[in-house]
Amino acid sequence: MALRKALTPLLHWFRTRFGHVPVGAWLLGAAVAAFLERLLGPDLAYLLGLGSVPAIFGLSIILKTPSLIPSVLVFVVLMYVIPTLVVAWLSRALFLWWEEQLSVPVYVFLHVLFLFLVLYFWSQVDPYRLLVLRLLGINILLTLSLNLVNGWMGEFSVSVAGFMSVGAYVSSVFMVWGFVHDDVFGPPVFPEFLAPFAFPLALILAGAVTAVTALLVAVPSFRTRGDYLAIITLAYVFIVKSTVENLDFIGGPRGFMNQPEVASFTVVFIWTVLGIWVMWNYVTSILGKATNAVRDNESAAEMMTVDTRKVKIVAFLTHAFWSGVAGGLYAHVLGYINPSSFDLRKSAEILGMLYLGGLNSVSGSIVGPVLFMFLTEILRPFQLAKWLVIPVILIYAMIRRPRGLMGFQELRIPFLTRRQQAKEEARAYGVTGN
């Protein structure tokens, strides 16, 4: 309470000063801050006695050695807060002008570009950040694709790990066969400089193969509703794991490595944004509405001429496709996979992210993985005890918000909603045009 009282004037000052700064200006500010950190961060960290640049805003440093709190605070304020505030404040007019002038797709693209710059500069400082951000993108893809089945369709699928496994192995085999000198697959079939260009092809192949294997599960399992899918997908995870362990040419239980380094941050970012865009279009389309209708009342949906069987299978196959793509990315980010990295624990982790973020929500599927990974990464110094803290936090979150943080609602992005409002007002007053 006392803290809230102390913070109130600060919040008030912040709101009056920065309340009207558009999202884009914040992103630009963050990008400038990240760029500055890349230039000056190591020197400043050395001056403050931090050794190296604090990986995740110094939160894990604070937890490990509390005596460094002042230096970390100074670093964060100097490196992140001040540049972001100043640049955002200065560039607000530019963005307000752009908001008037540019069309929505261009303006959205601009935001994505600035977000990319923020994350790109931020990840250049530290290979650990680079790894975490790429895994985050993959987890967002997985959570989003799972949300389609568990949220929009209202079934309970646990097969994410199995789909990932299929996608990871298919794309790895394709890339290693094509572009790497390997003991099992022999010399590369194609010239090696083509590898980055063939990688999207490998991912699409991975997704397609995953979807085909998912079809084997989907066809029998949609005759009934309820927990049946959960059981079938559970068996699927076991069967995939066991199959991979028995295939000796891809290493069996020893695992499979030698994947070419083609999954850079840029590649993962592009695939993540593409996945979010596709999924957003899917769930806002008629197909997405039909999927919701099937969840709420299948018989009623059928009466309203929804082809329920088709809707369910398409949603499930989309889930499989994107999980397979994410699995392919995962394999190439880590450069090593083995069958036991795709067990039920992996599925449970993704389910945790999904239900933390909330069902039936695209923004929830982004918030969930971000929060979950943020927690797991800042708690890394605790090692084993991490897995005592995370379940407790998740259980508490589920008890306080049983529908997840963003369940059944979307985050409102100010500039988009403002546009929408203006359009509706114009329609209400009978004004035509854009």
Binding site: Y228, S242, L351, P391
Partner: protein, 307 residues
């Protein structure tokens, strides 16, 4: 043929493990319509409890504080472990399921999973990664029935498992609490209106299931005396599949499903390379479920799911 008869006893032994654990899944499902995903880890914790109880009792016996024979110690261990394991089950219910009674079912599934992960990590953190050896409660004696060798442990496991199942059946069909449990599985919403304390009955169901898992833990520890914190994941999920195979929420089905899974696994392992065991076993399960989506003895429910 002799080989087959020999494997038959192995299958019966594993079937008893699966059946005892699967009963816990099925009983909870029949009332709450959700799977207790922490049940495998309850089994694991119960096995560790059994390990401590058995070690303590054996120590006391060696020190001549309690001059018990091995059989008495075994019975005492079994009873004490089942008693303590039931509290683990009640604790899981209190933490993971009671606060989420009205929440979407899937949220309760997540809290269950998380409680399971918590228990695994807690055991790992408290006891370290070194494996514990379950003490020898009853010295093994090998009998020869015709051409087949059978240890007294296997016979004991089988007999005790059936005795416990019979007790459970009597409890559910003859006692008042058992009647309340049956009533709640028949209609979850109306029964509390008739003055039956819903939460008590649910907690009791969890306690019963966990006690059976505790018994399974003792038998498992005696047969395979190496404990590690992830054994619950492995055996728990298989018992879960057995419960499904028998039919969700069906007590009789859970027993049949457990033994069926035991037979499938052992026979596959006996005839094919052992690495193929999971692959073939789950493919068979998948095949059975394709033709009988509600399991062998499950009923097709028309109740609207509380998702």
């Amino acid at each position: 043929m002799e080989q087959l008869a020999q494997q038959l006893f192995n299958a019966l032994q594993w079937g008893s493990f699966y059946a005892l654990i699967a009963l816990g899944y099925s009983m909870v499902y029949s009332i709450l319509m959700l799977f207790n995903f922490a049940h495998g880890d309850v089994f694991m914790v119960a096995t560790y409890i059994g390990y401590f109880v058995a070690t303590a009792l054996l120590g006391l016996a060696v020190l001549q504080v309690l001059p018990f024979s091995n059989i008495v110690i075994f019975v005492l261990t079994l009873i004490l472990t089942m008693f303590l394991a039931s509290f683990v089950g009640i604790a899981v219910e209190l933490v993971a399921y009671r606060p989420l009674r009205d929440a979407p079912r899937a949220s309760a599934a997540i809290t269950g999973l998380m409680v399971g992960i918590f228990m695994e990590t807690a055991v790992l953190a408290l006891l370290g990664a070194s494996r514990k050896d379950f003490p020898l409660l009853i010295p093994p004696i090998t009998f020869k029935i015709g051409p087949v060798h059978v240890t007294n442990l296997k016979i004991l496991t089988l007999v005790m498992a059936f005795a416990l199942m019979l007790l459970l059946h009597l409890f559910i069909s003859r006692t008042k609490v058992g009647m309340a449990m049956r009533a709640m599985s028949f209609d979850y919403a109306v029964v509390p209106l008739l003055g039956i304390p819903m939460n008590t009955i649910i907690a009791f169901t969890f306690a019963l299931g966990s006690a059976l898992a505790g018994a399974a833990g003792i038998f498992f520890g005696m047969a395979y005396p190496v404990l590690d914190p992830y054994m619950g994941v492995l055996i728990g999920w298989k018992a879960f599949v057995a419960a499904i195979l028998g039919g969700r929420g069906s007590i009789f089905g859970a027993v049949v499903g457990g033994f069926l899974l035991g037979f499938i696994e052992i026979l596959v392992a006996a005839t094919l390379p052992s690495t193929m065991r999971d692959l073939i076993a789950y493919s068979i399960v998948l095949l059975i479920l394709t033709f009988r989506p509600y399991g062998l003895f499950g009923e097709e429910y028309s109740v609207r799911l509380r998702l």
